[in-house]
């Protein structure tokens, strides 16, 4: 049994602007992951669609949904349908690409979202598994290529000098269960610890972790 759906509110909910939970609300969530990872004002957004997303993004409002997430809007924000125009007014260039081939991560609802500005580029590969719930299959940023198992929440911790994964594990285990853990190094040989968690963290727990590490990304 997979354990993607952890809360009753992923089954009854989310409250959202129609028409599709996987292609609209889930797409907002994929954009939101890119927003959290980028954490800056973008100048360019490129979205690569595959399979069902490539065939039906226009009808489902997937375009404005993903851009809404990148802008940090919630799925029931009334600005969701106008997100593309809002982003363009802020000076962003936006490209949507319908790819003919199969999804690179073998899921019918796949979007690869690349967000950039003069300083940096990040890329998020997300899949929308139904009812507004998503998985993140790949994250590219700052010379790292992180490949999580999929289910959220995911914590990416860049340690302070000489800080070990073990010290973060101890802190996390006091908060929840770690389902999976992986260490990555980037092109400059700097380490990053990835933790796939069993449940969402509370704000106060996130603040504790943030204070303990050099940089913390929570998706």
């Amino acid at each position: 049994m997979a354990n993607n759906y952890k809360s009753v509110f992923e089954i009854i909910g989310p409250i959202m602007i129609g028409p599709s939970s996987s292609h609209t609300a889930g797409a907002v969530a994929i954009g939101q992951a890119a927003h959290d990872l980028f954490a800056d004002q973008p100048t360019e957004i490129r979205v690569d669609y595959y399979e069902s997303f490539a065939e039906t993004h226009l009808g489902h409002g997937t375009d404005y949904a993903i851009v809404s997430g990148v802008l940090g809007f919630a799925p029931d924000d009334p600005r969701v349908p106008d997100a593309v125009e809002i982003a363009q007014k802020q000076g962003m260039t936006i490209h949507f690409v319908e790819n003919q081939g199969p999804s690179p991560v073998n899921h019918p609802n796949t979007a690869v979202v690349r967000v950039s500005n003069a300083k940096k580029t990040i890329e998020v590969t997300g899949v929308s598994i139904g009812g507004g719930t998503i998985e993140i299959r790949a994250l590219k940023f700052n010379g790292y290529l992180v490949k999580p198992q999929g289910p959220l929440p995911i914590v990416l911790a860049i340690p302070k000098p000489n800080q070990t994964a073990a010290s973060i594990v101890t802190q996390l285990e006091a908060m929840t269960t770690i389902n999976h853990q992986e260490t990555y190094t980037n092109s400059e040989a700097l380490p990053l610890f990835e933790f796939d968690l069993d449940r969402r963290l509370q704000r106060r727990q996130l603040e504790q972790l943030r204070a303990a590490t050099a940089q913390l990304i929570y998706i």
Partner: protein, 300 residues
């Protein structure tokens, strides 16, 4: 976390607790939020459902921007008022409520996805007629949603709830089964009868494909929710009468999963096969999207 419906039913029976109570306890434990907060969140979902049911059927109703759907919940309301329905007023009101909700969804209005937006009308279709027939309190209606979510979570984690992955059986089929199980509990049936109702409702919709015209959540999605709601009601009635599906609920979920995995891609929310592929469906797609739809790199 409950791994199967058998486990959920067995726990409810040994602990003499309704399934709604078990799932509330699980949510408290997993989210570390208080019972009051969780309850209020579910009550908010109920409020959104009620608003959509009302909005879709009042005045002239709502219409999608494509013109493919809208206004039919109003037609049903007027038809009911004439008093000559074939399947009885409650059944047609369930249909009206389901269609009203999905018309609001197609018109990009606010809905509560249950479990998905495409299947968003099925549970309200069931719930708001039970409110009248069984004189449900708000508390009982919130409990209905918790019971439905308990069953839905098991489907979502053991099979799938996305049309693109498993066809409409995974969306409206799951919603109907969830609604049937919750209807039984709120009507005073046993957890075992909830599981039977679930199994009957899902078995009835196995194999249902996801073939939306132009890839839009309109045709046939809106009316599929009418069959979802009524399927839930007839399954709940059968279970309360003591009928058994013979194939247990967990096996039915397994069947739904394997059917979904064998379903061709053209029938899983690609807007290619089934009704979407008919001459009329293709003409609608061309009218709505024109050439924009086939453009590979669309810089807009």
């Amino acid at each position: 976390m409950y791994k199967s419906i058998a486990e959920l039913v067995a726990t409810a029976e040994t602990q003499h607790q309704p399934i709604s109570e078990l799932i509330i306890q699980q949510e408290i434990e997993s989210s570390q939020m208080s019972r009051e907060v969780i309850w209020a969140m579910m009550a908010k979902n109920l409020e959104v459902m009620r608003a959509a049911v009302k909005r879709g059927a009042e005045g002239e109703g709502v219409h999608s921007t494509t013109g493919l759907t809208g206004g039919e919940a109003v037609k049903l309301r007027k038809y009911r008022a004439a008093g000559h329905t074939l399947s009885g007023d409650a059944m047609v009101e369930a249909i009206q409520n389901a269609i009203a909700t999905n018309e609001v969804n197609a018109a990009m209005g606010v809905v509560c996805a249950t479990p998905t937006a495409g299947s968003t009308g099925t549970l309200p279709g069931v719930l708001f007629i039970l409110e009248k027939r069984l004189h449900l309190t708000e508390d009982q209606m919130v409990r209905f949603l918790f019971t439905a979510s308990a069953f839905g979570m098991i489907v979502a984690n053991n099979a799938m709830i996305a049309g693109a992955v498993g066809g409409c059986q995974a969306e409206v089929g799951s919603a109907a089964a969830m609604g049937a199980a919750a209807a039984v509990e709120v009507a005073g049936g046993t957890p075992e009868q909830s599981a039977e109702a679930f199994a009957i409702a899902m078995s009835n919709l196995l194999g249902l494909v996801c073939d939306p015209v132009a890839g839009l959540v309109e045709l046939p999605c809106v009316k599929r929710n009418a069959i979802g709601a009524t399927d839930a009601l007839i399954a709940a009635d059968m279970a309360l009468a003591g009928c058994s599906n013979k194939i247990p609920a967990d096996d039915v979920i397994g069947a739904m999963k394997s059917i979904g995995e064998e379903m061709p891609r053209s029938l899983r929310e690609t807007g290619i096969g089934g009704l979407a592929g008919t001459p009329t469906g293709q003409a609608m797609k061309q009218r709505i999207f024109g050439d924009a739809f086939v453009t590979e790199d669309n810089p807009e």
